[in-house]
Amino acid sequence: MCLGIPGRIVRIDDVDRKLATVDVAGVKRQINIACIVNEAHPVEHCVGAWVLVHVGFAMARIDEREAALTLQILQELGEAQAELEAIASSPGSSP
């Protein structure tokens, strides 16, 4: 719940509601990106961005290298699997 997991924004689903689809280690789900958009980063420009996803919300932008390292450490810690299962089993996910 507190560690979060990195994902890459692959599609904007709803500009007004700030909803986007992320790919988290191959699992896709819809998340809310309200916390990482601002004037410098409008919703439309978020595709491709790497973000740290906490309970379905993007909470920070991270760079690609950081994302890869974080994912690896979560895998080593045994946290990634639980998080991915939670994401995959939730109604907001899609294959």
Binding site: C2, L3, R17, A34, C35, H54, V55, G56, G92
Partner: protein
């Protein structure tokens, strides 16, 4: 230094450990222990998983702090959840972490087995989706966590408000880290020389809220990332401050946690929540202003106003020593029931439930070590 093999960058870890040792030796006070509290459960997990303590000189003692939201949930609050979940027509939704926390009568898991409609969700948005999908049912979301998850619940409530969804409420148990650190610093039986600050809480709140720790309490704090190397480097930064007689708030995790925090998240928090006068913590008792509730403007989303909630204060079972472990007075394995009547399969205390809890992390790490010989 037998565990150093496991670090991604073994040389760096070994070099840091050597530097830490040198610094620790050079700090005045001879062999008096230096107590460093890691506030966050994510750090606790990393520390146990990688045997970080084995790399540290004996003089440095890590105290595993209260930063695991599931671990500080008092039994009475679990009873409240069960009471709501057992109301007719309710779908009670929660993060998976909270399912197995024991209440005085039962856990949410047991309530579900007995027929209550309790569902695990990954996100509060999933709870809102359930409310949309089941307009004839009442969906309650158990809002849990520090500032890391607080904005998620707030933004979900704002979304429910925009859509005028009237069968969705939140049982708000979000807690806030700053008053808690202050309470720990004010508590007479705790000795802490410095802190590792929680990386992801800091990503939301920024570094300014910690300033009082350096200025008023004269303790260094380093906001730390979650990799074992991050933890080691942060410990080194803390020691350097101690050695040089500085008390500052430093940020080792600047690559994720910006100094100013996350403005949008802070705005959502400010809009939706207000501080409670006090909030009850497992093991730490009641701490002033340490919890938040929904502002009156969002009362229709507040489960506390919609349901009769027992709100009873239930003392932990006598044998449980979670409070002492949380405050760093006891190590997990020194608890009387550790590994006997309290295991991850049959947890007596919440510190054994979550993988971020010190007892579960220690149990898992030490048993894995025994299973495989040396590697944890």
């Amino acid at each position: 230094m037998k565990y150093v093999d496991e670090f991604r960058d073994r040389d760096k870890a070994a070099a840091l450990a050597t530097e830490i040792e040198k610094l620790a030796c050079s700090i005045e006070g001879g062999s008096t222990p230096i107590h460093i509290m890691e506030v966050c459960g994510g750090h606790t997990h990393s520390i146990f998983r990688y045997g970080v303590e084995e790399l540290l000189p004996a003089r440095i003692e890590l105290i595993h702090g209260p930063g695991c939201p599931v671990c500080v949930l008092p039994m009475g609050r679990v009873d409240d959840c069960v009471a709501i979940a057992e109301q007719p027509n309710v779908i009670f939704t929660t993060f998976g972490d909270a399912m197995r926390v024991p209440g005085s009568r039962k856990s949410l898991m047991q309530a579900r087995a007995e027929g209550a409609d309790v569902r695990m969700v990954y996100s509060p948005m999933d709870a809102l989706a359930l409310a949309r999908a089941h307009p004839d049912r009442e969906v309650v979301f158990f809002g849990l966590g520090f500032e890391t998850t607080m904005p998620a619940t707030a933004l979900t409530i704002l979304q429910a408000d925009r859509e005028a969804i009237d069968n969705f409420t939140v049982f708000c148990n979000h807690i806030t880290i700053i008053p808690t650190i202050k309470a720990i610093l004010d508590s007479p039986d705790v000795r802490i020389d410095a802190f590792l600050g929680p990386g992801h809480v800091s990503m939301v709140i920024g570094s300014a809220p910690y300033d009082f720790i350096a200025r008023h309490y004269r303790r260094p704090l380093v906001i730390a990332g979650f990799e074992p190397l991050d933890v080691l480097q942060s410990i080194w930064m803390v020691l350097k401050q101690i050695k040089e007689g500085r008390c500052e708030i430093e940020n080792q995790y600047a690559r994720v946690a910006a100094a100013g925090g996350n403005v949008a998240a802070l705005q959502a928090i400010a809009r939706v929540y207000e501080l409670r006068p006090f909030f009850e913590w497992r093991g730490l008792g009641s701490i002033d202003h340490s919890g938040v509730r929904l502002r009156p403007e969002y009362a229709r989303f507040d489960a506390e106003r919609r349901y009769a909630i027992p709100n009873a204060r239930i003392a932990d079972p006598k044998a449980c020593q979670c409070g002492e472990v949380l405050k760093g007075v006891l190590k997990p394995w020194q608890c009387k029931v550790f590994g006997t009547s309290c295991t991850p399969q049959t947890p007596a205390g919440a510190l054994m439930v979550s993988s971020e809890g010190a007892c579960a992390a220690y149990y898992q790490y030490s048993s894995a070590k025994q299973r495989t010989g040396a590697r944890g």
